[in-house]
Symmetry: C2
Subunit: 251 residues, 2 copies
């Protein structure tokens, strides 16, 4: 990997000049920038990040402490949580990461009591869906997009039944083209999962974090592999971009 | 650890009201906020973070890749590097973390060819000193503050001889009181190491990151243990605060 000699491929010089600056990607896509002090979070709130490997990001799974870098791994959830904890210490937030690599939505359901409901989150963020597609695509799973949507709806019904006041943050499952694992054949089927996830978000009136929109903008500034090597798992730059989008969404 | 029920100890209500807000700590201490697009970094720059466990932060040490979260751990260097990579992709920065837990300044010198000079950094950030004091304090090292300063001066002379144009960023070694490992008896001796580090910084006209000033301000907002459990190794909130200070210093 020769990062220092990579040549960035802009569409054209004129196109490059017209781009939003990188710091402006989040604000241009979402109409706002990351929050500093937010009314969205209340004193003592428990905040939970849930999802698959993108959320997991190599966290330790023995102690699973709140507000601990070791229990957060090195992905977007760690960067977003570090921002929240630094910017509003007076709120005494208690933040967990319980993402697990490889998870599909039905696997969240299997561990939902222990890894969500028992933690009694006030804010629950979920990023799930890429494995529901990817594992089906590679023949290791036979679930359909209908199963994904139905399972996701049921998971949130169960969540709201147990925790009526929980604030939900749903994150768009995303991919980045021109990377080691993702090509154009992902676009149409992943769109179905993204539309399904958005329907779930709308049904429960959740915050929505449009990661596909964000990454579609980012690849105008640097190649797909700059943001994620395989098209799914973000680089450091990609994780920072995701964290800023998440923080902007919860402003 | 009951984070959710911690009571923050403000000096007084009036005192609390007069404090700079948390996002303003960095700007109030340093006269500027974190950089977004900076002239300090040039296209293709190699940026190297060096130091002890605070910089190491659990990074993997087999592949030691640039721009890789796994090779960066989960501390201030990871958060600062993620910010740089996200905010200026057009500069194609190549960023390494080579901090090693437990290091004192003479141990940096022992591995300096492999872990610094051979990487040919254009920007070199060093945070070293707390173990030079701590290991002497606990009887595991017999170096003095004079040895620390002399070794540090020689290390930078050697660095500038090999890399005359390298931009140096020296970070103040720091402690936080009312934590598991640090009490008032640290203040006077650590001040000597801090003054020595500042003399080294002045001698080489480096960027200076005043971490002690930053943490002294932060503890007016939340207890010491909120920023670092043992008084030396930062929490997620502390790592974010350090990263923002580092980014502001290199603006």
């Amino acid at each position: 990997m020769n990062l220092s000699r990579r040549n960035f491929l802009f569409k054209s010089t004129a196109g490059a000049a017209a781009l939003a600056s990188i710091p402006a990607i989040v604000s241009s896509c979402m109409g706002k920038t990351k929050n500093e002090t937010s009314d969205f979070f209340s004193s003592g709130d428990v905040v939970l990040f849930q999802g698959d490997s993108i959320t997991d990001a190599g966290r330790e799974k023995e102690r699973q402490l709140p507000n601990s870098a070791w229990s957060f791994g090195n992905g977007y959830a760690m960067i977003a949580a570090a921002n929240l904890l630094n910017s509003m210490p007076e709120k005494e937030l208690v933040i967990y990461n319980r993402g697990i690599s490889g998870n599909k939505v039905y696997q969240l359901a299997e561990r939902w009591d222990a890894d969500c409901l028992n933690l009694k989150p006030n804010v629950l963020s979920i990023l799930i869906g890429v494995n529901d597609y990817w594992h089906k695509r590679n023949g290791n799973y036979d679930g359909t997009v209908e199963i994904y949507e139905n399972d996701y709806m049921k998971l949130l019904e169960r969540t709201k039944a147990a925790l009526p006041d929980v604030k939900l943050v749903l994150c768009e499952p995303f991919y980045v083209l021109d990377t080691s694992a993702v090509d154009e054949t992902w676009v149409a089927p992943m769109k179905e999962y993204q539309v399904a996830a958005k329907r779930v978000s709308d049904a429960f009136n959740t915050i929505w974090v449009p990661f596909q929109t964000i990454f579609d903008e980012a690849v105008k500034h640097a190649p797909g592999t700059y943001w994620t090597g395989d098209g799914v798992h973000p680089s450091m730059a990609g994780a920072q971009l995701m964290a800023e989008a998440w923080l902007a969404a919860t402003k």
